[in-house]
């Protein structure tokens, strides 16, 4: 049974994993990307990554379906993007590529977990992005996109933790169970 608590815990685990992965990746990207105060403008490439930023009242009043759908769509996009990360280039460190692969697998798990909750609550899954290949861009701009991807990932994981905090309290486990039984599980 896909409990919201387990999804919350997975979010926290991913956040912890990303913390070290991001530090390694940014130092691999090198200056200025690994400087603490680096705060570049967000470029076109990164616009494809859904931003976690949301109006406070709007976020507060999201219903459970919308809240889960927003998470599902975000991680679908982020996973697509993550697979194009620069780690594939020959100079990439093997340990970094391993960490990236491990993180992608965990993130895939989170996506599956969210899908499981949505299905168990009778919600439709939102459309997932087509696996489009990113436009050809200079190495610096690709690094900029990677920088923003990591930033957005970190922010989404923070937001998801808060989303699942709210869902934990609003969606009693029995609701999940009832729906499963009514669907013959």
């Amino acid at each position: 049974r896909q409990s919201i608590q387990q999804t919350y815990d997975l979010t926290r685990y991913l956040e912890h994993q990303l913390h070290s992965l991001a530090a390694t990746y940014l130092s691999y990207l090198g200056p200025p990307f690994n400087e603490p105060d680096f705060d570049p403008p967000r470029l076109i490439g990164a616009e494809a990554v859904p931003s976690a930023t949301v109006d406070f009242q709007e976020w507060h009043s999201l219903n459970d379906n919308a809240r889960l759908a927003a998470n599902y769509q975000a991680y679908s996009h982020l996973l697509c993007y993550l697979s194009t990360m620069d780690g594939k280039s020959p100079v990439a460190m093997p340990t970094l590529r391993h960490s990236l692969a491990h993180f992608r697998a965990s993130l895939q798990g989170l996506l599956g977990s969210i899908a499981g909750i949505m299905a168990s609550l009778g919600y439709q899954l939102p459309p997932t992005p087509t696996d489009g290949t990113p436009p050809l861009r200079s190495q610096f701009l690709r690094k900029m996109d990677d920088f923003w991807l990591l930033k957005e990932l970190q922010t989404w994981l923070w937001r998801s933790a808060k989303d699942f905090n709210r869902l934990r309290k609003r969606v009693p486990p029995s609701a999940v169970m009832l729906h499963l039984e009514s669907r013959g599980f």
Binding site: A52, T53, V54, D55, F56, W59, H60, T155, K169
Partner: protein, 320 residues
């Protein structure tokens, strides 16, 4: 220094450690005048014609200087000399103790300037300037309300301090989540648990400044130690606002504090106010009222009535 009619008081700012020359308004340079400082005559050694020269001024030179025409003692000019320093870099801090409502920034001057300073603060986020509302009650503090949450873009706050002798500024930039730091938990209470010589029940409340505990639950950190030992014991609690200490030393007075943190982001609050408690202790049998009551019934058959006494054990502990 703007020019006013001579008899009006002027203000003159001077930097600590410099030489200052005060002119007697529009009086001729060589006219005979007398200068007073806070109504005390200054001797002629300070004069250069009608001008007053003060060397290597310090704070004690601050004050009111008046210039009188030689013989007539007619007041010709008055100036308020304020000795100070140009501002050094101010200390600026921003913090969100009521996330997700907003955050406040506060500042101070690590090195005083001794003269009036004015502050100007700008908050930039996502290439837009956000208004920082000055706090009506607290000096050197302003407040920013979050319109959006979960931003991956940094906030940049720049503070500029200016006074008559110069200006200085400082900037900090931070992520929304990095500055989340709740206020300490409130109403911390610790009580003994009857018939449990090694337990203490501790309860507390969310800081009243924390607006949305449901969506943004806090976790807590409790530390406790007997007064006679310096080493704290710690326990982290992710749910609820009560805890039972089960390993207290019997009969020993404990000091207890609690801190709070958002479950996922930011840093720990400061420690709460410390509370004290001593675990429950058995009433010494012979001195308790019941024991004494039992003796009285047996004593009534004898000539004396035993007076009621409080248990020493208790009175000694409360007196500490």
């Amino acid at each position: 220094v703007q020019q006013f009619p001579d008899t009006e008081s002027h203000i003159h700012y001077a930097q600590l450690g410099t030489d200052v020359t005060l002119q007697c308004g529009s009086v001729d340079r060589d006219a005979a005048v007398t200068w007073t400082a806070n109504s005390t005559d200054l001797d002629a050694s300070h004069l250069n014609g009608s001008r007053l020269v003060l060397r290597n001024v310090d704070l004690s030179h601050s004050g009111q200087y008046s210039c009188y025409e030689g013989s007539s003692w007619h007041l010709k000019y008055r100036v308020n000399l304020k000795v100070g320093t140009p501002p050094k870099e101010p200390a600026l801090m921003c913090r969100s103790n009521n996330y997700p409502s907003g955050f406040y920034c506060s500042w101070h001057m690590p090195i005083p300037t001794y003269i009036p300073d004015t502050f100007n603060i700008t908050v930039m986020h996502d290439s837009k300037e956000i208004v920082c509302d000055m706090d009506v009650s607290l000096k050197n503090r302003c407040y920013i309300r979050y319109l959006h949450l979960f931003s991956s873009k940094k906030y940049k706050v720049t503070l500029t301090v200016t006074n008559a002798l110069g200006s200085s500024s400082t900037s900090i930039s931070f992520d929304e989540f990095a500055i989340v730091k709740p206020d300490p938990p409130e109403n911390v209470v610790a009580k003994p648990i009857p018939n449990n010589a090694r337990r203490l029940l501790v309860t507390w409340q969310y800081p009243s400044s924390w607006p949305d505990p449901d969506s943004f639950p806090l976790k807590f950190f409790l530390r406790y130690r007997p007064l006679i030992i310096d080493q704290w014991q710690h326990v982290e609690l992710s749910d609820g606002t009560t805890h039972i200490i089960t390993d207290a030393y019997a009969g020993k007075e404990y000091i207890i504090q609690v801190a709070a943190k958002d479950n996922e982001i930011g840093t720990w609050s400061d420690w709460s106010v410390a509370v004290h408690a001593t675990p429950w202790t058995e009433e010494p049998k012979h001195l308790t009222t019941e024991a004494q009551g039992a003796e009285t019934t047996t004593a009534s058959t004898s000539a004396f009535v035993v007076p009621t006494t409080t248990s020493i054990g208790n009175s000694e502990e409360q007196g500490s």
